[in-house]
C-alpha cells in the first residue's frame, strides 16, 4: 500500500499528463479531421462544414456523438475477439506514441533515453491493428486491403528508419528531449544540415500513415475501404482516430528530429530575439479575429459559441504574453510555454503538407508504390546515412561543415538522379518488351 502511494507521489505529474492525453486525444484527432475538411474544401473551391458551430467548429463533437450512437454491426462470420481487438490495437499504438513526444522542455511524459526507438517500436505494433482488422472482417477485399497496407507500412518503415538514423547521427542520442537540445547547441535545425533525410522522412511518413498519394489500400474506388470496410460506428471511429493521431505523431517526430522541436527559428541568434513576440502576437490576431466575427455569425447560438472560442483563444494568448514579462519566475516558464506554441505550429505545418499532398496528387498504384519504396527510397536512404556519417566524420576532423555537409548532400542527390535514370531505363525496357509481346 505504501509502495503504491510512493509511486503515485513520485509520478503524479506523468499520470495526470497521461490522463490528459487519453482524454484529449479524441478531441485532438477530431479537430485534425476538421482541419483536413476545411483545408480540403478550401483547395476545392468550396467551404466545408459550416453549420455545426460557427464555421463548423463543433463538427467533431457532432461526428463523435453520431459515431457513438450508431449500431454496432459485427459480420456474422467474423472472429469476435480479433474484430474487437484490432481497432483497440491501432488506437493504443497511436496513443502510446504520445508518451515519448516532448512538446516542450518540461512537457513530456517519459524522458526515455530511447524515445525515438520507442516510437518506432510502437508504430510497428500499430501494423497489427490493420492486419488483424482486415482478417477479422472475413471478407476477401478487406483481407487483401489489409495485407497490402501492412506490406506498404513495413516497406516504408525501413526508409523512414534510415532517415531517422541520419538525423540521429547528427544528434548523437535517441532521447527526444536531448535531440532538440542538440539542435539548440548547434544553433541550427537539422533539416538544414540533412535536408535529404528530411525529404525521405516526409515521403516515407506519408506512406507510413496510409495517406494519399499512398492510400491505395483504403481507396474508395478500389477496394471500397480496404481493411476498414466492415467496421462501422465507434470501431470505425477508433480506426479513423488512430490514423489522424498517427499523422500527428509522425509530424511530432519530424519536428523533433529535423525542425528543431520547441525551438523558435534561430534560437541562438540574439538579434532575432524579437521573434519571441510572434507567438502572443499570432494568438492575439486569432483572438481578435474571432471576436470580430462574433456578431457576424448566422445566429445567436453560433455567435455565442464563437464567443466561447474567442475566449479560449484569449486564454491561450495570456500565458504566451505573460511569460515575456521581465519577472524571473515567469521568464523561467518561457521556454516551456513558447516552446509548446512553436512545437504545435511546426507539427501543424507538417500536417498541412500532408493534407496539401492528399488533395493535389492522384494515387499511386500499389506496385508503383512498392517500387518507389524499394527501388528508390530505401537505396537512397542508405546512401544518405553513409553520406551523413561521412560528413560528420569530416566535420570532426576539421573540414568546414558547409563543405562537408554540402558535398555529401550533393553526392546523395547525384545518386538519386542516377537511380531515377536507371528506373526510367528499366521502365522503357519493360514497355518495349510489352509492346513487342502484343505486336
Amino acid at each position: 500500500m505504501q509502495g503504491v502511494l510512493d509511486f503515485l507521489l513520485k509520478y503524479w505529474v506523468q499520470l495526470v499528463d497521461a490522463l490528459v492525453i487519453v482524454g484529449v486525444f479524441p478531441l485532438l484527432a477530431g479537430y485534425v479531421v476538421l482541419l483536413e475538411r476545411k483545408v480540403m474544401a478550401d483547395m476545392q473551391a468550396r467551404l466545408g462544414p459550416m453549420r455545426v458551430g460557427p464555421h463548423g467548429l463543433l463538427q467533431p463533437l457532432a461526428d463523435a456523438v453520431k459515431l457513438m450512437i450508431k449500431e454496432d454491426i459485427i459480420p456474422e462470420s467474423a472472429d469476435r475477439l480479433i474484430f474487437w481487438l484490432a481497432p483497440v490495437l491501432s488506437v493504443t499504438a497511436a496513443m502510446l506514441a504520445f508518451a515519448a513526444i516532448a512538446v516542450g522542455p518540461g512537457f513530456l511524459i517519459a524522458d526515455m533515453n530511447i524515445g525515438l526507438l520507442f516510437i518506432l517500436a510502437i508504430s510497428s505494433m500499430g501494423i497489427f491493428g490493420i492486419v488483424l482488422g482486415g482478417w477479422a472482417s472475413n471478407s476477401h477485399y478487406s483481407l487483401l486491403g489489409a495485407l497490402r497496407s501492412a506490406a506498404q507500412l513495413v516497406s516504408y518503415e525501413v526508409a523512414v528508419g534510415m532517415a531517422m538514423v541520419a538525423g540521429l547521427l547528427l544528434a548523437g542520442t535517441l532521447s527526444m528531449k536531448d535531440i532538440v537540445l542538440a539542435q539548440a547547441d548547434r544553433g541550427v535545425w537539422f533539416v538544414f544540415v540533412a535536408p535529404i533525410a528530411f525529404v525521405i522522412y516526409l515521403i516515407g511518413s506519408v506512406a507510413e500513415t496510409n495517406r494519399a498519394p499512398f492510400d491505395m489500400p483504403e481507396a474508395e474506388s478500389e477496394l471500397v475501404a480496404g481493411y476498414m470496410t466492415e467496421y462501422s460506428g465507434f470501431r470505425w471511429a477508433l480506426y479513423f482516430l488512430a490514423e489522424y493521431a498517427n499523422m500527428v505523431v509522425v509530424g511530432s517526430v519530424a519536428t523533433t528530429l529535423f525542425l528543431g522541436g520547441w525551438l523558435r527559428p534561430f534560437p541562438s541568434v540574439a538579434w532575432l530575439n524579437f521573434l519571441d513576440v510572434v507567438p502572443p502576437l499570432v494568438m492575439l490576431g486569432v483572438t481578435g479575429y474571432c471576436f470580430y466575427r462574433v456578431p457576424r455569425q448566422t445566429g445567436k447560438d453560433q455567435s455565442f459559441i464563437m464567443l466561447i472560442f474567442a475566449g479560449i483563444c484569449l486564454l491561450i494568448t495570456l500565458p504566451l504574453a505573460l511569460v515575456l514579462a521581465p519577472v524571473p519566475q515567469l521568464a523561467a516558464l518561457k521556454p516551456g510555454i513558447h516552446g509548446a506554441f512553436w512545437f504545435i505550429a511546426k507539427v501543424m505545418l507538417y500536417v498541412y503538407v500532408f493534407l496539401w499532398a492528399r488533395f493535389t496528387f492522384p494515387r499511386y498504384r500499389f506496385d508503383q508504390l512498392m517500387r518507389l519504396g524499394w527501388h528508390y527510397l530505401i537505396p537512397l536512404s542508405i546512401v544518405n546515412v553513409m553520406a551523413v556519417a561521412t560528413a560528420v566524420l569530416l566535420k570532426e576532423n576539421g573540414v568546414n561543415p558547409f563543405v562537408a555537409f554540402g558535398g555529401t548532400a550533393l553526392a546523395t542527390v547525384l545518386v538519386a538522379m542516377w537511380l531515377v535514370r536507371a528506373g526510367q531505363a528499366r521502365e522503357q525496357e519493360a514497355a518495349a518488351a510489352r509492346a513487342e509481346q502484343s505486336a
Binding site: 474506388s221 492522384p362 498504384r365 514497355a431 509481346q437
Partner: protein, 381 residues
C-alpha cells in the same frame, strides 16, 4: 493473340477450370467507379488480368421499342435520356435524322445556335469526364473545378430551354425557343474565362509524375484494333486515326468554322486524356467563332405540326462527345416511326474494354473504364 479479329473472351463459365493461380473477380454492378451499373467479370492471374467480360443491361429501358409507339416529336425527349451527360448532342442527332427523312433543313440561324449549344455540351461532357476520371485515379480536387465550369454551361442551358440535364433543346425542323437576351454575352464570357481554366487542369495533371505513371502505357489500343472494333470518338483519335464526323461529313454549321482535330500517337490513356483536353479547347474556338455572327432569320423550318415523313430509311450520324452517335430511322409513312435504332458510341467503345485491359493490373481497370468515357444510359438504352 490476333488483334485484328474481334473476339471477346469466351464466357467465363464455359472455360475449363481456371488454372491454379487464376481467380475470377467480379466488379459491380454497384461499384464506386464503374460510372453506372456495369458489371465486369475479370479473370485474374494473381493480379494480372487475363480476360474480362462485361455484363450490361442493368439500365435497359426499352427506348428503341418505345420509339415505335410515339410520334416523332414525342420521342425527342426520350433521346436525351440515353447519354444523359450530353443530352443536347443526342437531340441534335435525332432531329437532324428526322429532318433528313422529311427532306427539310433547319434554317441557318437554327443551325448556328445548334452548333453553339452542341459545342458547349461537348465541353460540359468532357469536363464531367475529366472530373470523374481524375477522381477514380485518386486526384480528389479536379472534379470540383470541372463541376464549377460545368455549372456555368448548365446555367446557360437552363436560361435557354429551362432544363440543365435532359434539355430537349432542339425540335425537328429547328429550334423552339429564340435565344434569350444576353445569350451571346453569356457564351462569350464563358469562352473567354474557360481558356485559363483548361490550362489550370493541365497544370494540375498533365506533367504530374503520378498521373503520367497511372495513365501512360495503360489501356493500349492501336489504330487497327480501334478500327476493327468500331471504336469512335476520342479513343479512335487517340489511337492515331484522324476521323471526326464534323470534318468528314459536316452537319449543322460545322463547315463554316475553323477547328482542328486532335489526334494521339500511342492510343493509351494518357493520349486519350490529351485528346479530350485539346477537344475542349477546339470546342471553345468553335463557340467563339460562331457567337461572332449568328445569322438572323427564322428558327424553325416549315415542317408542319403533324410529321408524316414519306416511307424510307435514313442513317444519320453526328460526332457526340463520346463518339459517333448514329440514328437509323425507318419510316412507314405514319406519324410514328417504324423503327429507331440508335448506334450508341459508349456501347461500341465498351467492346474494346477486353482488348485494352489484358495484361494490366486490377487497379488499372478503373482507369481504363474511365478513359473510355461510357455512360450506361447509352450502353443499355
Amino acid at each position: 493473340m490476333d488483334e485484328t479479329r474481334i473476339t471477346g473472351m469466351p464466357p467465363v463459365e464455359e472455360t475449363a477450370v481456371p488454372g491454379a493461380d487464376e481467380i475470377v473477380l467480379n466488379m459491380g454492378p454497384q461499384h464506386p467507379s464503374t460510372h453506372g451499373v456495369l458489371r465486369v467479370k475479370l479473370r485474374l492471374d494473381g493480379e494480372k488480368i487475363e480476360g474480362s467480360e462485361c455484363f450490361i443491361g442493368y439500365l435497359h429501358r426499352g427506348v428503341e421499342k418505345i420509339a415505335e409507339h410515339r410520334t416523332y416529336q414525342q420521342f425527342a425527349p426520350y433521346v436525351d435520356r440515353m447519354d444523359y451527360v450530353a443530352a443536347v448532342s443526342n437531340g441534335l442527332g435525332y432531329c437532324e435524322a428526322v429532318e433528313k427523312l422529311l427532306g427539310a433543313e433547319a434554317p441557318p440561324r437554327a443551325r448556328v445556335v445548334r452548333t453553339i449549344l452542341t459545342e458547349l455540351q461537348r465541353i460540359a461532357s468532357h469536363l464531367l469526364w475529366l472530373g470523374t476520371h481524375a477522381l477514380d485515379i485518386g486526384a480528389l480536387t479536379p472534379v470540383f473545378y470541372c463541376l464549377r465550369e460545368r455549372e456555368e454551361i448548365l446555367k446557360i442551358f437552363e436560361k435557354y430551354c429551362g432544363a440543365r440535364l435532359t434539355t430537349h433543346a432542339f425540335r425537328i425542323g429547328g429550334l423552339q425557343y429564340e435565344t434569350y437576351d444576353g445569350f451571346e454575352h453569356d457564351v462569350k464570357r464563358f469562352c473567354v474565362d474557360f481558356a485559363s481554366k483548361v490550362d489550370e487542369y493541365e497544370q494540375l495533371l498533365t506533367g504530374n509524375r503520378i498521373w503520367v505513371g497511372r495513365t501512360k502505357g495503360i489501356g493500349l489500343l492501336n489504330s487497327e484494333q480501334a478500327i476493327a472494333l468500331g471504336v469512335t470518338g476520342p479513343p479512335l483519335r487517340a489511337s492515331g486515326v484522324k476521323w471526326d464526323i464534323r470534318k468528314a461529313m459536316p452537319y449543322a454549321a460545322y463547315d463554316q468554322y475553323e477547328f482542328e482535330i486532335p489526334t494521339g500517337k500511342n492510343g493509351d490513356t494518357y493520349d486519350r486524356y490529351l485528346v479530350r483536353m485539346e477537344e475542349m479547347r477546339q470546342s471553345r474556338r468553335i463557340c467563339l467563332q460562331a457567337i461572332e455572327n449568328i445569322p438572323s432569320g427564322p428558327i424553325m423550318a416549315k415542317v408542319g405540326k403533324v410529321l408524316k415523313p414519306p416511307p424510307g430509311e435514313v442513317y444519320h450520324a453526328i460526332e457526340a462527345p463520346k463518339g459517333e452517335i448514329g440514328y437509323y430511322v425507318v419510316s412507314d409513312g405514319t406519324t410514328q416511326p417504324y423503327r429507331v435504332r440508335v448506334r450508341p458510341p459508349s456501347f461500341i467503345n465498351l467492346q474494346a474494354l477486353d482488348t485494352m485491359v489484358r495484361g494490366h493490373l486490377v487497379a488499372d481497370v478503373v482507369a481504363i473504364i474511365g478513359t473510355l468515357d461510357i455512360v450506361l444510359g447509352e450502353v443499355d438504352r
